[in-house]
Symmetry: C2
Subunit: 308 residues, 2 copies
């Protein structure tokens, strides 16, 4: 049987990595020769979660077409966030919880997107629909993904369905969600071993908005000043990236996971419009976005609307 | 509560009309103020099905933005097949079984596509997932949709899931699927009251393929000569449409619902490539496509590949 690769987005986060592992496991239980792979380096949070539940990282790949004719995307759909050669393979399935854009197929496919906080919440349903049991260690991965994506249920992206799924999964994994979750988030927010270059790419996603090319990068921090103390050097790097990639906007967001606010640094020709999208004015080239923690639900829609 | 409109594609067929009625019913049971509407005239087959199960046609609308801020698409996603002002409203859900193309949202949504023969087969699952019973008359509509889209289970688009759903729905509706189905298909294949203009638009869908603008129209017939006897006049109309709409290809298909073949008439600059996509050469400006009955699974992928 020919192999199908399962993978999430570039600059992978916990939901993307664990959903690839979990969905590949489910497909294998259903008789499909599936392999989870990843498109980039693990962040500290994901490494912590994999270690906790006894998993190795999925194999790193740069291209996919040489390995499989068919692929399954989890936690993303936009082609600029996917494998560079995604156009050369057939996407047979997508399991996602984001907007749909820059995605096109020639053939019908299985596409399951739901407006919930995390891919794992959808996967939890798909296990039930297929009447496959979730092993404790996989439930631990799925719980980690929900905690990560919802910032321990505090993000506005978090739905009742996410909380319900997390409770079910915590019981299967036999883990205290609050205690484990905070430890995992803190492991991810430990930026001490990260260079500024790392911070720019750790969780960066590219978007087309109107005619504009936009990158939004987000880092979680326990203390935003750990990052903002290096703002001058950060701006140089951001300006270089905007020039190199021909971006109209680089929107760099540091999210305070304790107080659930963010600070944004916008660079590029559309920077002023970007701040205006949140009704703020930059001071010292940055602005506090009160209550903003979600790229998907708060930042992308606001910027898409402002730049269209 | 603000209203959400539920509708299928332009030039509606039985699956599009009935899925709008059925899904609006389900949403209402779940407490959503949903109204099914349609974007075009009923065909004879759909009128037969609605009459049989005691339904009126959904209300005809030309634009949607004036009526609702949010809409649900069934049985389609490509914007050129949807309401003209679709860009002005928020698509909150899509239930579909086609390829995905020319579709984009700013926000996350519920998107449920499965590679099955009919939207009604997916709706049958969604009723179960929501633990809502399907009334007998709605089951009759859903059965009609599956029979229509699968040509009574003979199309290559038909999956085991479609057959299983149809059996369940026939039992609920208390209908003999084979007997009712043939009568319904024959009602739809009765083209005696249709002008050539009608035939061109009855089940026409527009597609972007590479840089090409393509229309594929399909009519079902018990005897293809009912249509092909008028080929000379048909070609004049096709040529006019190609010129008016700036098409690169108009692919007109008459499907023999008894023998499950089709005859194609291709007009436009890409006509030769279109025939070549099926390894046939036109004779008298038309070609027999042996065993071809499905636009979605056989015609669109072949033409997309040939014109990319």
């Amino acid at each position: 049987m020919s192999k199908v690769l399962v993978f999430g987005h570039k600059n992978p986060d916990t939901d993307t990595i664990t959903s690839a592992l979990v969905y590949a496991y489910l497909k294998k239980q259903l008789g499909i020769h599936a392999e989870a792979v990843r498109l980039g380096e693990l962040n500290n949070e994901t490494a912590y979660a994999l270690e906790k539940f006894g998993f190795n990282a999925p194999r790193l790949v740069e291209k996919v077409a040489g390995e499989a004719a068919q692929v399954i995307l989890v936690d993303h759909n936009e082609r600029q966030q996917s494998a560079d050669d995604i156009a050369e393979v057939q996407v047979t399935e997508v399991i996602d919880h984001h907007r749909i854009a820059n995605f096109e197929t020639a053939d019908p496919l299985y596409y399951r997107a739901e407006p919930v906080g995390c891919t794992a919440t959808i996967l939890n349903k798909i296990f039930k629909e297929n009447e496959v049991e979730i092993p404790a260690n996989y439930a631990g991965l799925m719980l980690s993904a929900i905690i990560s994506d919802t910032l321990l249920f505090k993000s506005p992206t978090c739905t009742e369905q996410d909380v319900k799924a997390a409770n079910e999964l915590a019981a299967i994994a036999d883990v205290d969600a609050a205690e484990y979750g905070l430890a995992m988030l803190k492991a991810g927010a430990d930026l001490s071993d990260k260079s500024l270059e790392d911070l720019l790419s750790l969780d960066a996603k590219e978007f087309s908005m109107g005619d504009h090319k936009v990158v939004i990068a987000q880092v979680n921090a326990v203390d935003v000043n750990d990052v903002l103390d290096r703002q001058a050097d950060l701006e140089i790097l951001l300006n270089n990236t905007v020039a190199e990639k021909g971006l109209d906007l680089f929107f760099f967001v540091v999210t305070d996971i304790i107080n659930n606010d963010s600070v944004a640094v916008a660079i590029g020709a559309q920077a002023e419009k970007a701040y205006a999208a949140f009704n703020v004015v930059a001071d010292n080239n940055r602005a506090l976005l009160k209550g903003v923690v979600s790229r998907k639900k708060q930042i992308v829609p606001a910027l898409t609307d402002a730049l269209k």
